[in-house]
Symmetry: C2
Subunit: 230 residues, 2 copies
DNA sequence: AGAACACTTTGACTTAAGTCAAAACCACCA
DNA sequence: TGGTGGTTTTGACTTAAGTCAAAGTGTTCT
């Protein structure tokens, strides 16, 4: 006989592991779990488009999602890549306006969808979630602030240096980095195009600052990289 | 004999008129008012610098403040201009990290300073404020999303068109606009420099799309402007 | 009124980075 | 194992927008 509560329990475990629902007790989580539904998306599938009317927000149960904007001639600016445990599109769920960006699955992805109609009530009932969401918004605002700084005030080598140092930081300051996205995606994340990124990577390797082998990048001259990132 | 409660009452009136403290009763506002202190800044005075350690957030009682980032060679990107009733720098007050941007008074400005140490307690005690702040963050995130779109995916004429249409919208769709900032500041807001903005304004006026007389701008061909803004 | 200062415009020049096109590389699947 | 499709690189070219410098234009304050 199958224990039908097992997957539900796993769902609660997952929810309690997310930053958004951190600090909620089992009972509150169970109530929440009633409201959400799971959807899976194949690699490359659109989740929503820029301008779509929003009817809820998403939590990534597994896989990865890029949230991005498109220019008139098809160039892409990635705003952020969301992974397991992250939640996204809460702003439209909160203000009821359209999505300011599009979202696409980068790989096979399972999302938990939370309908907008329960959202405000949820926040009013759970001050903990509201504070968690506030902290999450604060992180996004800082990220955006850095992105604007990069796009407006730095050139591509500086943006790349900033990214590589961040990667290194996240890996405890290691000098051996591994790109977990394609170089095309990295270009879109840095606000440039693959050709320019390719040339910039080549330039930095010529200058002995980094060494590239496919998706593996060695930092050879960290001070120079820090100077570039300023 | 002077009524010493009059300015305090005016302060409460002001606080209750802000979006952040919307929905609070007189008693809650009075409690709040104990925590804040007023500071005035002359035009051009720095309020804080990028990288400063944050010890609180600000509410604009009167005047205007620009929040901006500087590049290595002194170029400026304005993130937002805050006016009467607006509050800013809550992100650093919330996460305790440094200011991600600098702030300077654009004109003689009175600010109410709210120390960080009371901030989290304030939020926990007043779910209303937390929700108001969440909505404010959501507005900022949308603004940033538009800014990134502009900086990364549009050229200066498109950014200018977007700005002019927004100005027009805020004035009920009027065709006669009035810039309430200098053209240098507008350039910094659009992520460009005064020379480029000047040439772009000239180009649009040559094409019969707008007509410029100092700080007054007439929209002559709205469809063309909308096409530019996309 | 006029000096001092800030803001805006114009001109000549430079440059970072985008476009387009083609080749090279890689990975996965049948 | 070889082909198909996606990714990355390279090359030649174009262009939007930045830099620097100087001349106008306004505005404010004494």
């Amino acid at each position: 006989m199958v224990d039908s509560t097992a997957p539900f329990s796993a769902l609660l475990d997952f929810l309690s592991s997310t930053q958004l629902f951190d600090g909620l007790d089992r009972e509150q989580l169970a109530e929440l779990a009633q409201l959400i539904c799971s959807q899976t998306y194949d690699r490359g599938t659109s989740i929503f488009l820029q301008g779509d009317t929003a009817d809820g927000f998403f939590i990534v149960r597994s896989g990865r999602v890029k949230v991005f904007q498109l220019s008139a001639n098809g160039r892409e600016q990635i705003l952020h890549i969301f992974g397991e445990g992250d939640h996204f599109a809460e702003v439209p769920a909160l203000d009821g306006k359209c999505f300011p960006a599009a979202a696409t699955a980068l790989e096979s992805t399972e999302l938990l969808f939370f309908p907008q109609k329960f959202f405000l009530a949820l926040l009013e009932k759970n001050p903990t979630i509201t504070i968690n969401l506030l902290k999450s918004f604060a992180r996004h605002l800082r990220r955006f602030s850095l992105l604007v700084d990069n796009l407006s005030l730095r050139e591509v080598p500086g943006r790349l240096a900033t990214y590589l140092l961040k990667l290194s930081d996240e890996d405890g300051g290691s000098d051996r980095l591994h790109l977990d996205i394609t170089k095309s995606q990295l270009a879109a994340l840095l606000g440039t195009i693959p050709e320019t990124l390719s040339r910039t990577l080549y330039k930095l390797s010529q200058e002995g600052i980094i060494e590239i082998d496919g998706k593996a990048i060695d930092v050879r001259d960290r001070p120079a990289l820090e100077r570039l990132a300023q």
